[in-house]
Amino acid sequence: MATITYREALNQALAEEMERDEDVFLMGEEVGLYNGAYKVSKGLLDRFGELRVVDTPITELGFAGVGVGAAMVGLRPVIEFMTHNFAMLAWDQVFNSAAKLHYMSEGQFNCPIVFRGPSGAALQLSAQHSQALESTYSHFPGLKVCTPATPADAKGLLKAAIRDNDPVVFMEGELLYAMKGEVPDDDDFVIPLGVADVKREGSDVSIITHGKMVHVCMQAAQKMEKDGISAEIVDLRSLRPLDVEAILRSVHKTNRVVYVEEGWPYVGIGAQIVDIIQDEAFDYLDAPVARVTQADIPMPYAKQLEKMAKPSAERVIEACEKVLYRTV
């Protein structure tokens, strides 16, 4: 175990997988000479050279498609979107190409590609740069989606994503890159897709969440502890495949659920989890599932407005109190 940052964890995952399999290469804006806009690919150009760490023009649609083409003929591209906000320009290639090729060709072509980059808000980047897009990606069959919240998960899941034979959308967080955590040194430390992680055991209420929000939920849980509320935190880690068993296990245990996500509410991930819970654990719910999301608006720039718009520990606590029928 070493304590490293989320950024370093991703860097290790990339380096190890590139070392392990020469079909793996990294392509995107500023990933090479500049070492990555967020320095995730630091040192990789020097180590692997220009064929395997490729700086692209600012043409998201184009290089995403180049990646899909390369994947069709057996390479394993890791395509970095500087952020997933810009990936919208490439969504045709993600949704109409990557997600459908295997099926349309009756399995003749695989698409082992990873589309990675930060998703969601950082600090005061305003509307076009602050979108958490998990819901949209997860909607399309043919894709797999991961949202690691910690350095260990980032490393283990990225390695799994690169080894997976399907297109995987990998969603990181600008505000997570500098976060430190313990990560196994083992070169073969891989976290399989579809396995949730109970980040905190609890008995009164289940807070189910993914990605960056795990940390907001942890703060909330610690505060609630003081008021004698024991909150369990289930981090889904991947949204497709989804660890439904882990969700149900926690619901059976607490009978009260809050779903917390960074994105917008309308058809957010939480809505889908609510649907699964009411369908498969209807009689176990002592209260409606409550949801915490970002405000249902484009993200504003002003510091205070942005703060109000983002999910906060306070709002998570309010939601927990609601499902616990406690009102303060």
Partner: protein, 396 residues
């Protein structure tokens, strides 16, 4: 090596209709750009005039057998599409269906210089390209019928024919969407240090799509062995090219990327082959991409639901272009050069008819995909923990 064309694209003054006329000018200058100014400045890679019979009894270095094989491919394409039209009319084929009739010379000429390991991707008007790349007519027809023996298991249909075995990377339903993919094949070839090439076909209307421009820039910047062949059949659905592009001359667009370019007469299989061969050779050796405009014409409607002529073109215009039928033209060339006898022609025709009929029968008898097929091949790796499907019908 070819220089990038450099005319100011000022052929806007000329009548696009004249300019866009395939065959006419095309045949005359054997693939010269019809923009005289430009062609004076620098000859097109294709160069030369109409093929002359060589002492060794070859045309453009192609022997009798090869030439007749090309004729066979053109006829196969033509008859296959006619059969497809019939089958569609009686409901054996569904969905959208875009026929290639009139454009056979583009594909047969372009494929002649290829090796089996070269990649080809196209758009949705790709039946004939799938056949010429080597997919058996049976499996192509079965796919159109939506049967289990189809080259895409019945899941793709007319717009999505695939064969990994033949490096046929697909038809494509999104206009321009295949261009970045082809660039990706070029990237993989470079990555692995191979000497394959990738051919990317598209209709002229795809040239306006951003994906085309983003791809050409990367192909030129990274020196990828990709040949972009624009089939300028004059129309994107009901929109004439001159109503969709501010510049008629498509090959000129390569100058924005410092990429070699050429114009080919898409109604002349030998000229088409000559122009593409030069680009293919250059791609194998120098790893440079090329943009080729193949001037051709669509004899049928855009799709089965679009009349042959109507609001956007007259009966006369269509008839006039049918005069340039690339198959009749090639037959004449071969006979003139006494490289084809009437008996040989009959034999080829017979062979083609038999194959096409056989393809239809095979498709008729091929089974429908089973219910199990519904959820097969959605994902390549289903051995994951957790749930992949959320419709409650198929839980992984």
């Amino acid at each position: 090596m070819a220089k990038t064309k450099s005319a100011a694209g000022s052929d806007r003054d000329e009548q696009p209709s004249r300019n866009g006329q395939p065959g006419r000018s095309g045949k005359a200058d054997g693939g010269q750009s019809s923009d005289e100014q430009a062609s004076k400045e620098q000859p097109e890679p294709s160069g030369g005039n109409a093929p002359a019979k060589e002492s060794n009894g070859k045309l453009d270095g192609l022997g009798r057998e090869r030439l007749q094989e090309m004729l066979y491919q053109m006829l196969l394409g033509r008859r296959f599409e006619e059969k497809t039209a019939e089958a569609y009319a009686i409901g054996k084929i569904g969905g959208f269906c875009h026929l290639y009739i009139g454009q056979e010379a583009v594909t047969v000429g372009a494929f002649e210089p290829l090796r089996p390991d070269d990649y080809v991707i196209s758009a949705y008007r790709e039946h004939v390209q799938a056949l010429v790349k080597g997919i058996p007519p049976r499996n192509v027809m079965a796919e159109l019928y939506g049967r289990a023996d189809g080259c895409s298991g019945g899941k793709g249909g007319s717009m999505h024919l695939y064969s990994a075995e033949h490096n046929f990377m697909g038809g494509w339903g999104i206009v321009g969407g295949q261009v970045p993919l082809a660039t990706g094949y070029g990237w993989a070839i470079k990555y692995r240090g191979e000497d394959r090439v990738a051919l990317c076909f598209m209709g002229e209307a795809a040239v306006n799509q951003g994906a085309f421009h983003e791809s050409l820039n990367m192909a030129a910047l990274w020196k990828l062995p990709v040949i972009f062949i624009v089939e300028n059949n004059r129309f994107g659905m009901g929109t004439a090219w001159e109503r969709a592009s501010s510049l008629y001359d498509i090959s000129q667009k390569a100058s924005a990327y410092d990429m070699p370019a050429a114009v080919a007469d898409g109604m002349d299989v030998l000229n088409m082959r000559k122009v593409v061969k030069e680009a293919v050779d250059r791609a194998r050796t120098e790893k440079t991409p090329t943009l080729i405009e193949a001037r051709c014409y669509r004899f049928m409607g855009h799709s089965m639901s679009d009349p042959v002529h109507g609001v956007y073109r007259t009966k006369e215009e269509v008839e006039e272009h049918k005069e340039l039928d690339p198959i009749r033209r090639f037959i004449d060339q071969l006979k003139e050069a006494s490289l084809l006898t009437e008996d040989e022609l009959q034999a080829i025709d017979k062979r083609v008819h038999e194959e096409v009929d056989d393809a239809g029968e095979f498709a008729d008898n091929s089974p429908e995909p089973t219910e199990e097929a519904l959820y097969s091949n959605v994902y390549a790796s289903e051995d994951v923990a957790g749930r992949l499907y959320f419709d409650g019908r198929r839980q992984s």
